[in-house]
Each structure stands twice: as structure tokens, then as C-alpha cells.
């Protein structure tokens, strides 16, 4: 009986491998994780959508596009590079941090450029023609949003530091360029605790090279934490047209931190 099952299993496996040779590998059922959106079908040569004013249409539900565990590794840098350009104070802070102190795990906003890999997010260009705002609505970790001003305003001179900072965007041909200052120093770039200061200045370049992909190159300039600016690169994937953002409320019965036996340190200093 056991042998019979084994035989049947081998046959099934053989059948699968034959099928795999004749077709593309199967798409993952969900982007990002079990609760993520289904991936949109990639149609080769499909035109990148545009808004009525001619700018690229980024609207939709996306997954990924930012660092989670390790900004250097996920952003395409050589191992050890970020440590090599950290200022002494940043290096000392970095050495003290452990994942259990990550403010993100205590439901605080992720900041920029971090994005939750295991949650979807929706990009909203508003209004649809000549947008004055772009909103990024996050399913989780904190069910919150980021706003980017597209109306040509400048940064305020001395903004109050916030988790998402003051973001202004403009188009350079088909690339959306978002310039952000006014960050607080409370969020971490990644679970490793890669640090920054309130001097942080990010320039994001968002492009849609194919229908289902959003590329994001982020220049990170923070003389308080790094001796020179650096670029990190990420890709977000489009959810199928019927994708919706679900409601995830991190602070409702969060089992990280104290219940998980971790040291509670929301500021991580």
C-alpha cells in the first residue's frame, strides 16, 4: 500500500514537472503574504496607463516597494556598505538596537522609505486630473496614510518633525520625483535599526516601467547619520484590479512587545 502511494506520488510529480516545462512557473497566489492582494496579470507590451492630463497613472493597490528587514541588502547595496558610511554616533546607536525595540513592532508609523512587505497599500492620485495630492493608504502595520503635495508648493522653512515628513512631488518626464524633509528621528529604516536623524532628506524617483511594476529609487541624504548620500532601489508589484485594502489595526490587541517578553522601547534610543 505504501509502495503504491509512493508510485502514485512519483507519477504525480512527474506530471507536474512536465506541466512546469510546458508553461510559465505558476504565479504566487498572493503578493507579500497570505493576506496580500492577488498579483495583476502581466501582459507583455501592455501600455502604461496615463491620466487625462498625460501623467503616468500610478493608481492601484500595490505590494512591496520599500525596505523591511534590511534597507542595505533589500535596496541593492553591498553587505557592510551602510555601516562603512555611518557617522560614529549613528554607528553607536545602530549597535545598541535590537529588533524587539523597533517602533514599527509597537504599531508606530513606518516613516519613509519603509513599506510593509506583508501589507498592501493603495496609491491615490487626487484629483484624477492635475492631481494636487498623492495619498498612500497603508493596510497595515499602522492602518494610516502618507500624503504628498503635488500643487507646486515649497517645503516650509522649519517644519515640525513628523513620521512621514513634508513631501512635495513633481514630474520629470514620466518619473514622479518626491522630495521629503521634516522627518522625526523615531522610526527605523528597517528591522535592523538602521538609524537616521532629523536632518534626513529623501528624494524618491517613482516610475512604472511595465504595467505591473513600480520602481522606486530613493536617495537618502542625512549628514547626521551617514557621511555621504546613498541610493537604494525597490520594486512594488501591482495587485489584480479587484484588490482592496483590508482593515488591519495593529494596536488592537498587539501581541508583540511585553506579551512577547520583549523590552518595550518605542523610541529605540
Amino acid at each position: 500500500m505504501i509502495r503504491y502511494f509512493q508510485f502514485a506520488f512519483v507519477l504525480a510529480a512527474l506530471g507536474l514537472s512536465l506541466a512546469a516545462q510546458s508553461k510559465e512557473p505558476p504565479l504566487p497566489t498572493r503578493l507579500g503574504g497570505d493576506n496580500g492582494p492577488r498579483p495583476a496579470a502581466a501582459v507583455p507590451g501592455r501600455a502604461i496607463p496615463r491620466l487625462p492630463d498625460g501623467t503616468i497613472d500610478f493608481n492601484g493597490v500595490w505590494s512591496g516597494g520599500g525596505p523591511v528587514g534590511d534597507i542595505g541588502q533589500q535596496g541593492g547595496l553591498k553587505p557592510g556598505y551602510l555601516e562603512s558610511i555611518m557617522t560614529p554616533s549613528a554607528k553607536a546607536l545602530y549597535a545598541k538596537r535590537s529588533e524587539a525595540q523597533d517602533p514599527y513592532n509597537y504599531c508606530m508609523p513606518a516613516g519613509v522609505p519603509r513599506m510593509a512587505a506583508d501589507f498592501a497599500w493603495r496609491l491615490v492620485q487626487y484629483p484624477t486630473t492635475k492631481p494636487t495630492h498623492i495619498f498612500l493608504l497603508y493596510e497595515g502595520n499602522m492602518h494610516s496614510f502618507r500624503q504628498i503635495f503635488m500643487d507646486g508648493r515649497k517645503h516650509p522653512v522649519d517644519p515640525t518633525p513628523t513620521w512621514f515628513g513634508h513631501s512635495i512631488g513633481h514630474w520629470e518626464k514620466d518619473t514622479l520625483v518626491v522630495d521629503t524633509i521634516g522627518f522625526n528621528d523615531k522610526f527605523w529604516f528597517d528591522r535592523r535599526g538602521t538609524p537616521h536623524t532629523e536632518q534626513l532628506h529623501t528624494i524618491e524617483r517613482w516610475a512604472r516601467p511595465e504595467f505591473t511594476k513600480l520602481t522606486r529609487v530613493v536617495t537618502i541624504d542625512d549628514p547626521g547619520a551617514f557621511t555621504r548620500p546613498f541610493d537604494v532601489r525597490f520594486t512594488a508589484e501591482l495587485g489584480s484590479p479587484d484588490s482592496e485594502i483590508l482593515e488591519y489595526i495593529c494596536i488592537e490587541n498587539n501581541q508583540y512587545g511585553l506579551p512577547g517578553g520583549h523590552d518595550y522601547n518605542p523610541v529605540g534610543k
Binding site: M108, T129, E244, E247
Partner: protein, 264 residues
């Protein structure tokens, strides 16, 4: 937190009154609220290219008041089922999940802070988003694409909301709500049977009327309707970033017992 804000607001308001009477009321909702639009009050409500009313903008109010104060004197008593009344009497401000940074539910998302209404796409909108500056700095979504409610939705803080237009009125039907948030600061209890029908009408350029029919056979003797009013901020108004859970001084810090799990 609320009490501290109230006190400091009162102090600010008093000193402002002493210094410059005409400065009073220059912000909606509080000292950090948007500036009210007044000059354009007589203009009709704007319309989008598809003919629907344009409700977008930064608004204040429209859902934060205590429900008892919006009803006739004594009316609330006739609406609450005995166990609802008992639970409400046992609750106090210090137990309100809202004060511990949890979402306020569909009614209170409009209370206390500026909020932005977004019709998306702008023409033939499939969504309406309500972005709240505080308390939880979160958002609510309303599906405008004609879909139905799911049969047995997982209960959530904002529920499953579907909207359609009846003339100039946006009608939003919501089910699938959890029983964890309070309908208002007075602690009116509800159950997962809660069903809300909101009717949003922009009665003039600067004013939005919101009639909400509240139905919950698990908590109330009958459906009842309350009317809220939201006011428009000036065109340059923006919502700020308020993160309640960052250093919240309500609750334990004030010697209050956190009730986040609620009391059943």
C-alpha cells in the same frame, strides 16, 4: 487627554477673547483645526464633471457629538435596551477605546480633528475615502462601484460601507462593524448587528448635513436618526499628522484603567 485639551483650549480661548475678540472661532474644531470658509457660504455646492455633488475637501465635525444631545430630551432613554443602559451607566470617559488611540468607527472618524473627503477617481468615483488627521490618523473607505455587502463580513472598526447617490445626497450603508468602539463619548454600546445608513448632503457651499439612521436590535428598541453638521475648511486647509499612540498621556499615565478589551 481630552480633558487636558479641553482645559488648555479653554485657556487659549479665554486669553484670545481677552486679547482679540475677533480672533475667536478662526479655527474649526480647535486651535489646530482648519480655518472656516465663510465668504463662500452662499455659493451652491460644487458639482463634478459627471454631475454628482463634489463633497471633497477638508472638513471639521459631522459625527463627534454625544448622541443623547442630538435627540429630544428623554428620547435616548426610550431607545436603549435595558442592558445597553446598564452598560452605558457603568462606563466612564477613562474606558473609551478612542482615548487609547483605537479607531473611532464610522461616526467618530469625523470628530475632534480635521478630516479630508476624497472622491476617487474624481469622476465616476469608485471610492470615497475619509482621511482623519487624528485620533488614530487613519482612514475609512466607502465603495461606490455598485458592489453589494458580503454575506458574512469579518467585523471591523469601520465595517463594510457601500454608497450611492440619491439626487444630491450621498447615501452610505454600513454593516460588518465590530462592537469594540463606542458610538460616542457617552459610551453608548452597540453590537455586531449595528447597521448605519448615512445621508450626506451639502446644503450649502460650506456646510454638510449628515443624517445617520442607527439600527441595532441587539442594543436599541428601534432604529433612530441623528443629524450632524460638518463645516468646510478654507481651500488651503491640510490635515496634519497626529499620531495618538506616540506618547499618549491618557490612561495609565493618568491613573486610569485601560479598558481596551471592552467590558462584556
Amino acid at each position: 487627554m481630552k480633558r487636558i485639551i479641553c482645559v488648555s483650549l479653554t485657556i487659549v480661548a479665554l486669553s484670545m477673547a481677552l486679547v482679540q475678540a475677533q480672533e475667536l472661532g478662526r479655527r474649526l474644531g480647535g486651535s489646530n483645526g482648519p480655518t472656516p470658509t465663510t465668504a463662500e457660504a452662499n455659493r451652491p455646492a460644487p458639482k463634478l464633471a459627471d454631475g454628482t455633488i463634489d463633497l471633497s475637501g477638508v472638513w471639521t465635525g459631522g459625527g463627534g457629538e454625544e448622541i443623547g444631545r442630538l435627540l429630544k430630551p428623554g428620547e435616548l432613554d426610550t431607545i436603549l435596551l435595558p442592558h445597553t443602559k446598564k452598560l452605558m451607566q457603568s462606563r466612564n470617559d477613562g474606558m473609551d477605546p478612542y482615548n487609547y488611540c483605537l479607531p473611532g468607527g464610522p461616526l467618530r472618524i469625523t470628530g475632534g480633528f480635521g478630516w479630508r473627503l476624497v472622491q476617487h477617481p474624481t469622476v465616476n468615483a469608485k471610492y470615497i475615502f475619509m482621511l482623519q488627521e487624528g485620533n488614530a490618523h487613519t482612514y475609512r473607505q466607502i465603495f461606490m462601484d455598485g458592489r453589494k455587502h458580503p454575506v458574512d463580513p469579518s467585523p471591523t472598526w469601520y465595517g463594510h460601507s457601500i454608497g450611492h447617490w440619491e439626487g444630491p445626497t450621498l447615501v452610505v450603508d454600513t454593516i460588518g462593524l465590530n462592537d469594540k468602539f463606542w458610538l460616542d463619548g457617552s459610551g453608548i454600546q452597540h453590537t455586531e448587528q449595528l447597521h448605519l445608513v448615512e445621508r450626506w448632503t451639502r446644503t450649502d457651499y460650506t456646510t454638510m448635513k449628515r443624517e445617520v439612521t442607527i439600527e441595532d436590535p441587539g442594543a436599541f428598541t428601534r432604529p433612530f436618526t441623528v443629524t450632524y453638521t460638518a463645516r468646510l475648511g478654507t481651500p488651503e486647509s491640510e490635515i496634519f499628522e497626529y499620531i495618538c499612540i506616540e506618547n499618549n498621556q491618557y490612561g495609565l499615565a493618568q491613573g486610569l484603567q485601560p479598558p481596551v478589551k471592552g467590558e462584556k
